[in-house]
């Protein structure tokens, strides 16, 4: 027989280790293995992997698995036609669409807030008047603060020292 490794047909090796070859094929392959060190080593390793995978047992199934399933089926049977129709989209809505919509809404709000000065631009005269008043008031406040701090005794000493 052709060498599976040379003919790039390693399926034989896998099937041999898995015990899926019939007796005739096993005999032919083992005859080949006796004269082919490469296939022999790979087959031994494949058998070792097969045995290693046997280690992996699975936990037993929960005793209430069926009860939970039938409960879900019964609940589903009671759903309205609209709930049944939209049900497949619920996980999608919760996981993907809802966060995306929320992000888009936030971005939109941020955009609107940032764009607001431009949007109220036509009302320039009124706005300028308000701004001038605010500046005037702030300057008055600053002057009051300056006078207040100048009147404090500590500050007088400091001024005298200078």
């Amino acid at each position: 027989m052709n060498c599976p490794m040379e003919s790039h047909d390693p399926e034989m090796l896998v099937a041999y280790a898995a015990g899926q070859l019939d007796q005739e094929a096993v005999a032919a392959f083992e005859e080949h293995l006796s004269g082919c060190p490469e296939c022999s080593a790979t087959a031994a390793d494949q058998m070792a992997v097969w045995q290693a995978l046997d280690v992996w047992e699975t936990p037993s199934v929960s005793p209430d698995f069926n009860r939970r399933l039938y409960h879900r089926i019964e609940t589903e049977m009671r759903l309205s036609w609209w709930e049944r129709l939209t049900r497949p989209f619920h996980p999608l809505v919760l996981r993907r669409i809802l966060p995306l919509t929320a992000t888009a809404a936030l971005l939109l709000m941020a955009g609107l807030i940032l764009e607001r000065p431009a949007a109220v631009a036509p009302a320039t005269k009124g706005a300028e008047a308000v701004r001038a008043e605010q500046v005037e008031r702030t300057l008055e406040d600053l002057e009051l603060l300056r006078q207040f701090s100048a009147a404090r005794p500590g500050n007088n000493e400091h001024r005298d020292a200078m």
């Binding site: 896998v14 099937a15 070859l21 097969w50 290693a52 995978l53 992996w56 699975t58 936990p59």
Partner: protein, 203 residues
Amino acid sequence: MGPRVNKDMGVVAAALDYDAELMLRVKDGDGASFALLLEKHRAPVIHFVYRLVQEQAVAEELAQEVFLRVYRSRSSYEPTAKFTTWLFRIATHLALNWLRDEKHERMQERLDDGPPDFPAREVSDRRPSVEDQLMYQARLAEVRRAVAGLPEKQRAAVLMHKYEEMDYVQIAKVLGCSESAVKSLLFRAYETLRARLAHMGRI
């Protein structure tokens, strides 16, 4: 030319798909047939999903969804493929989607923390010693890590091939790829596993 597989496997594959018949009865409103299908396939589906996602609670939750989908689809069911092919296609789809959502890192973290779903095990007819248990846990952790390290399609293919004893044709149908693609997937997967696990079999 592929290897000549055991003739019994071919006979089984060619046999009438009794499961599909049961599903057709479910379609006609026979709840008892659904119970039979559930009883027969519950464990294989849960075990397959468990080995894919490596978390028992998640595996059972996903398996519930698999059977729920089977039940939901009863009215539109047509036996165009083997029942188990259809069943495992749903299971694989749900499990791989879960893995993609959860990301592999989280699973790797859990594996590094040690197996939480360690099954009780008896060695031969005596109680396993502490040493036996520790040895078994170490080997199991190594196997789980090696399988979890495979790309998801290779992982699914190996699990179906090794534990569900599916042939290449059925695996190809479940994964929605060609038979030659499955052979290639399996060869690459076993090549990786040989590099990681071959030393275990020689112990």
